[in-house]
């Protein structure tokens, strides 16, 4: 069937697990002599858009409720304002500054945005795309509010030569990275306005090739890439797909590629300087290696798992992705088309998500 047309689903209330934790806190809070939260949040400024589950617990009145920018959350002075809110001077009212769900930790009111741009932090591993080439630096799209900067002095020169960047380098800046090139880098420094400075001064970083890119929206709403222990790993693909590298940028940009053995892995004995030298040979290459059909198929399957996770509001991290991938392989085995079936959109994606969440 080449086309599936579904009837639109009724919008479901947005609820995430962390909400329950904070709810649990506030329940105990109100039980230990605190005030009844229902009465504390007179959200009279807006109509009740959907039926609330007010009867289950005393605190679920605002759990999962969406507020919009400029909306009055409360004018009770006992609350403290948290992220995503602001107060007007002279009044105790707390007003939302983003569209999102209210979350409360004890007496702190904050709004978790439904969809947010990436906020860089020093040390973050990010995947970025060059959008602008300037005289001494590149401007990189990392999904943030501003373009990040990658100075010419913050990259490795081919061959790992350590020297001052000269005018010759500046003139040939496009031989390293040109517009559209994808790279993996680390946030080195932050400007006061939230802009980031990147660097690629490591063997792990540099230009990306041999694979596909997928952009996953930023944090918030339960889905997206979350900061975790490992953002980059190599995994074994099923069906003879060989090894696949996955780079989960903290900014929600993901790169899935065929794993290529770096030359230095063969001669481990090489010194630290030699190692840098040999790796840098392929650092600025934009030529893909030969990729087998099986590998391409598994890369596409992995990409499908990521989009399915995102569409179903699940987090994207190593554990989830590896489990999701194995589940997808299993699903393909039992499907009509056999193991070559890599489609994971629509209902398949929902099946996958249901299997992962155990529902």
């Amino acid at each position: 069937m080449p086309i599936t047309i579904l009837t639109p689903k009724p919008s479901r209330p947005i609820n995430d697990r962390e909400e329950d934790v904070s709810d649990a806190f506030s329940i105990s809070d109100s039980e230990s002599g605190g005030v009844d939260l229902d009465g504390d949040l007179p959200m009279t400024s807006r109509p009740h858009k959907r039926v609330r589950i007010t009867n289950t617990t005393s605190s679920s009145a605002s759990g999962g409720d969406i507020v919009t920018p400029g909306e009055l959350i409360t004018d009770d002075p006992q609350w403290m304002r948290g992220h995503g809110t602001y107060v007007t001077p002279g009044t105790p009212s707390i007003i939302s500054s983003v569209a999102g769900t209210i979350s409360r930790t004890n007496k702190l009111l904050s709004v978790r945005p439904l969809r947010a741009r990436y906020t860089p932090e020093v040390g973050d591993l990010v995947v970025g795309r060059i959008v602008e080439v300037q005289a001494k630096r590149w401007r990189v799209d990392v999904g943030s509010t501003q373009l990040a900067a990658l100075p010419l002095s913050a990259i490795n020169l081919p061959g790992g030569i350590l020297r001052k960047r000269t005018e010759t380098d500046e003139l040939q800046i496009r031989t390293f990275f040109a517009e559209g090139d994808l790279l993996v880098a680390e946030v080195q420094q932050l400007f006061g306005d939230g802009g980031a400075v990147l660097h690629t001064r490591s063997l792990k970083y540099g230009k990306l090739r041999n694979g596909v890119f997928v952009a996953v929206s930023g944090m918030g709403g339960g889905g997206g890439v979350v900061r975790s222990r490992r953002q980059v790993w190599t995994m074994d693909a099923a069906n003879g797909g060989g090894q696949i590298d996955v780079v989960l940028g903290v900014n929600g940009y993901v790169w899935i590629s065929k794993h290529v053995e770096t030359p230095e892995a063969e001669n481990k004995a090489a010194g630290i300087t030699n190692m840098e030298e040999s790796v840098s040979t392929t650092m600025y290459s934009s030529q893909n290696d030969r990729i087998e059909v099986e590998t391409m198929r598994e890369i596409a399957r992995l990409r499908g798992v990521i989009t399915a996770l995102v569409e179903n509001g699940l987090r994207v991290d190593e554990d989830m992705l590896v489990r999701g991938y194995h589940e997808a392989v299993e699903m393909a085995m039992v499907s009509a088309e056999g193991a070559d079936d890599i489609y994971l959109g629509g209902e398949r994606g929902e099946q996958l998500a249901a299997a992962l969440t155990g529902q």
Binding site: P2, T7, L157, T168, I342, G345
Partner: protein, 386 residues
Amino acid sequence: MASSQHVLLSPAELAYLHASLSLTPPIRPDGRTPTQFRPLAAETGILPGANGSARICFADGTEAIVGVKAEVERTAQRAGEETIFTEGNLLGDEDEDVEDGEAKEGEDKRRGYSSWVEMTVEIPGLRDDDSGTAFLAAMLSEALLADGEFVKRLWINRRFHWKLYIDIILISPPLSYPLPLLSLTTHLALLSTRLPRLKSEGDEDPFFDDDWAAAPYLFPRTITAGAKSTAADPTASRPPITLLVMAVGNNIIFDPSKEELAVADVALAVSVTGTTSHAEDTVQAEGKVGRDLRLLSIRTIDPPSRLTPPGVANAANAAYGTANGAAAQQKMPEARTAETEVVEGVWRAPRGGAKRIVLGALVQKVLERGGVVDEVLDALEGVDLG
């Protein structure tokens, strides 16, 4: 004619995409089969004030709304002349088409003009007179008006006609080339369009039935028994759909996403309409469910692939290699722009025109009886017209 926005992809990505789409069978980045469309959610009748409306959204959040509004308009007449004359034609060559259709009909007094339909397309972030938007509107309206059959449905009597306003609005930013989405939504909106039932007779001032429940569909459903009693023409055709089809190598791919379109060798917008008039004879003959598909128009879409930067082979890359890196830089300062022959794994933008055989295969594939278009039309008809 620039018709699709530029996507920024690295040469390595483009080379990978092109390689995976050139395989037999192609591996699409989202795992679909070549003829598979993105799953979509559709509903009709969402605008209570409009005569017909529809909304379609893709899973990635791309969403379009179409509203069809109708009003009665006095037909401009020329004194002492039986024929009706209007000047404002949307498309220059429309007059011949209308006359042709009329000559064939012979007895049918109804006639229509393309100025009776006003179509506006709105894409967020683009101006109304942006070339891309204008091109989209032209493609969608020419599909609707090409055969002159559609405007005949708007005929009330010799003095009055319906003026149809079709407003096509893309709500989300255009994540992919929006033509198929807009076309499918327009199709659904037209299917759900109802015009008040006419009570008056002859050439008197039109007088309509108040009862909205009695209002007939502009495109009568074939399943209802009253289809023939309405003022529709006997061919019982459906509104047209315009599909985006592209080719990479010899692979024909339907409903390409933005990344796929970025490596297309050829991209075509093909408008077809399905007529169910002869379906009954042919179903028995072939034993295969199918309908007559009529080709209305073909437009080539300039694929963005032609504007992509070429990749640099390792051999020509100044920043490639170890110790001789500096030396190579001196030798070839302009290495990136240099012309290179085809190297595997290096992206090179497609040059020259489309192969005629590929274009032929594309159109053949679209018009295939019982093929993709048939199933798309079936699926669209299955949408509940609430």
